[in-house]
C-alpha cells in the first residue's frame, strides 16, 4: 500500500509573539518544528506500512529550510520526501495550499497509486484545520477527520475511531481515503541510528511551480480568496483578584463562588456530563 503524509514545518507557536509597536509577527529566533499532529500522521503511516507492507511518501510545501523537517521525518522510516517550494506558492491560504498539495499527490498517484493520505488535524500556526479536507475534496477521496484510532485496514476499506465533542464515532470508508489525525492516535517512536545517518544526507525531491501543469491563478496571494487584513496581539491577560484563603477558607470560597455566578460563567449541570454542545 502507498501512504502519503502531508507534513508542515511550523514555528514553535508558543514562542511566536506580536511586536506591539508594529503589529507584525516576531518570528526571529523562533525554532521550527514538525507540526506535532503531522508527526503522529507520519508515525501511523509507518506503522501501517510495517503491518501491511508498502511505502511512505512525505509531501511538504514550504521554504527551502523545510528540508530539515523532511530529513528528520525520513529518519523515522519514510521512503521518499517531496518538497514543494517556490515563491509563487508563498502567501497561499488554505484553499490554494490544498490545491498545490493535491496537484503533487495527483502527480505521485500517476506512477505510484496512492491508497491513503494522512494529514494532521491542524497546523499549530495557521490553526485552520482546512487543508486536509480541502485536499480530500479535490482528490475525490472520502475524509475521516479527528482520527484517534485505526482499527482495521483492508485492500479497499479503512475503519477508524473519530473523536467528537460527545464521544467517539466508528466509521468505515472506502479506499483511497484521507485521514486527519489527533495526537492520541499513537506514541511517537525514536529514530534508529542507521536511519538517522541515512536521513542526514538525504536530499528531498524538489517541485517548483514549473515542475508540472500548475495553474498559477490558483496559488499564492493572488490565487487565495482570503487575505489577512491585519494582525494584532490579543488583549493581554492580567492577573485578576487574589483572595487570602489561609484564615477563613470557607468564607473565601463562598465569596469566590458568588463572584463566579455574578460573572455569569455558565455552569454545566452535572448530568450534562461535560458534553454540553
Amino acid at each position: 500500500m502507498h501512504f502519503v503524509v502531508c507534513l508542515k514545518q511550523v514555528p514553535d507557536s508558543s514562542e511566536v509573539r506580536i511586536d506591539p509597536k508594529t503589529n507584525t509577527l516576531m518570528r526571529e529566533g523562533v525554532p521550527s518544528i514538525i507540526n506535532p499532529y503531522d508527526a503522529h500522521a507520519l508515525e501511523e503511516a509507518i506503522r501501517l506500512k510495517e503491518k501491511v507492507g508498502g511505502k511512505v511518501t512525505i509531501v511538504t510545501m514550504g521554504p527551502p529550510q523545510a528540508k530539515e523537517a523532511l530529513r528528520k521525518a525520513m529518519s523515522f522510516g519514510a521512503d521518499r520526501a517531496i518538497l514543494l517550494t517556490d515563491r509563487a506558492f508563498g502567501g497561499s491560504d488554505s484553499l490554494a495550499t490544498a490545491y498545490i498539495i493535491t496537484q503533487a499527490i495527483l502527480k505521485i498517484h500517476e506512477t505510484d497509486p496512492v491508497d491513503l493520505v494522512l494529514a494532521g488535524k491542524e497546523a499549530i500556526d495557521g490553526d485552520t484545520a482546512q487543508t486536509g479536507p480541502g485536499i480530500a475534496t479535490r482528490l475525490g477521496f472520502p475524509q475521516l477527520t479527528y482520527v484517534i484510532k485505526v482499527t482495521d485496514i483492508t485492500s479497499d476499506t479503512i475503519t477508524v475511531h473519530r473523536k467528537l465533542e460527545t464521544g467517539r464515532e466508528v466509521v468505515q470508508a472506502k479506499l483511497p481515503a484521507l485521514l486527519t489525525v489527533e495526537k492520541e492516535l499513537n506514541e511517537l517512536r525514536y529514530a534508529s541510528l542507521p536511519n538517522m545517518m541515512n536521513a542526514a544526507a538525504y536530499e528531498p525531491e524538489i517541485v517548483t511551480a514549473n515542475s508540472f501543469e500548475f495553474d498559477v491563478t490558483q496559488m499564492g496571494l493572488k490565487g487565495s480568496p482570503t487575505s489577512v487584513n491585519k494582525i494584532f496581539a490579543p488583549p493581554a491577560r492580567s492577573g485578576g483578584e487574589k483572595l487570602d484563603g489561609t484564615k477563613d477558607p470557607k468564607g473565601v470560597a463562598a465569596q469566590l463562588v458568588e463572584k463566579v455566578f455574578q460573572e455569569n460563567i455558565v455552569m454545566v449541570s452535572p448530568d450534562a456530563k461535560g458534553g454540553n454542545r
Binding site: 511566536v16 491560504d93 500556526d125 487543508t131 475534496t137 475503519t159 465533542e165 466509521v171 489561609t246 473565601v252
Partner: protein, 345 residues
Amino acid sequence: KKSTPVAGGDVWSGVWVVIEYNRGEIAPVSWELLGEGRKLADDIGCELAGVLVGHDVEAVIPEAFAYGAEKVYVVDDPVLKDYRSQPYAHAITDLIRQYQPEIILMGATAMGRDVFPVVATMMQTGLTADCTVLRIDEATKHLLQTRPAFGGNIMATILCKTRRPQMATVRPRVMAMPERVEGRSGEIIREELGLTEEEVLTKVVDFIKGDAKSIFLDKAEVLVAVGLGIGSKKNLVFAEELADVLGATIAGTRGAVEAGWITHDRQVGQTGITVRPKLYIAIGISGAIQHLVGMETSDFIIAVNNDPDASIFRVANYGIVGDFNEVVPALTAEFKKRLQHGVAK
C-alpha cells in the same frame, strides 16, 4: 445550475446559518449564530436564513424561526441520518449554488470544521476558521472575520473580497444567545438531496458516548486540573469531588503525569493538550510557561495555591492563596449548595 463564484452584483444576498443537528441534538452555537447573523443581516440590509440538513428535522424548523430566522432551507433525506461530510457538503453546496447567499456561517465544532472546508473547496471560495468576532465593514460591506491563530498568541482579521459566499466557522459560546420568541414563522424552502446511499463513500458503524470522566480534554467545558502541589495520588479525591459537582473533567500538569497520578491524555500544556474550557480550576499548579501556553486562553481561570507569588496567579481571574486541603473542599461545598438551588441554570 452551476454558478461561477464571483463576487459583486446583487445576486449574492442574505446571511445564512447552518443549524447543526445530529443524533437528536441541536448544537447551541447554531442559535448563537442566528443572533449574530441578525446583526450582520441588519448591517447589510438583507435577510437572515437558517439551513437545516439532516433526517427527521421537522421539529427543528419552528425553533429556527423562534431564534430569528426569516427563512429556513431544508434538505431532509434518510441518507443524511448520520452526519457524514460528503452528503452534507453536497446538500449545502447545492443550496448555495441555487440561492446564492452572501455570507454563510456555522459553529466551529467537529461537524462545522469538517463540512465547511469541503463546501468552500466545492465553491472555490474563502473560509475563515474559528472566528471570535464578526463585523460588517461600513464602507465596503465586506465581512471582517477576526480569529485567533498561533495557539491564541495572535489575532488576525481576515477578508474574502472577491469571491462569494464569504464563509466562516465561529467558535461556540462566544456570541450571545438571542432571545427565543415563540410563534414566529417564515418561509420554508425544501430541496431534494440528489444523492443516493450507494454514492456515499463512508458508513458510520457505531457511536460510543463519552462521559465527563472520559471526555476529551480539549472539548470539555469545565476542567479541574491538579499539579504536584496536591502531594499524593490519594489527594486526587479532592479534585474529583469538585469535578463531580461541576460536571467537570480532570486534567493536570506534566508533573502530575510523571508522578503517575493522572494519565498522559489528561496533560495540559506544550507537550500535552491545549484546552479552552469555559472554566479552568488549577489546584497546586505553579504555572510554568509550558503549562500556561496550554490553558491561558480559557474563558475563566481560578487558581488555588499556597504560594502567593506562584505564576499561575498571573493568568487567573481569581486566585485563592491557601492550602488546597482546606480551600478545595470549601469550594466543593459552596458550588454544591449554589448548584442545587438551581441558581446556575
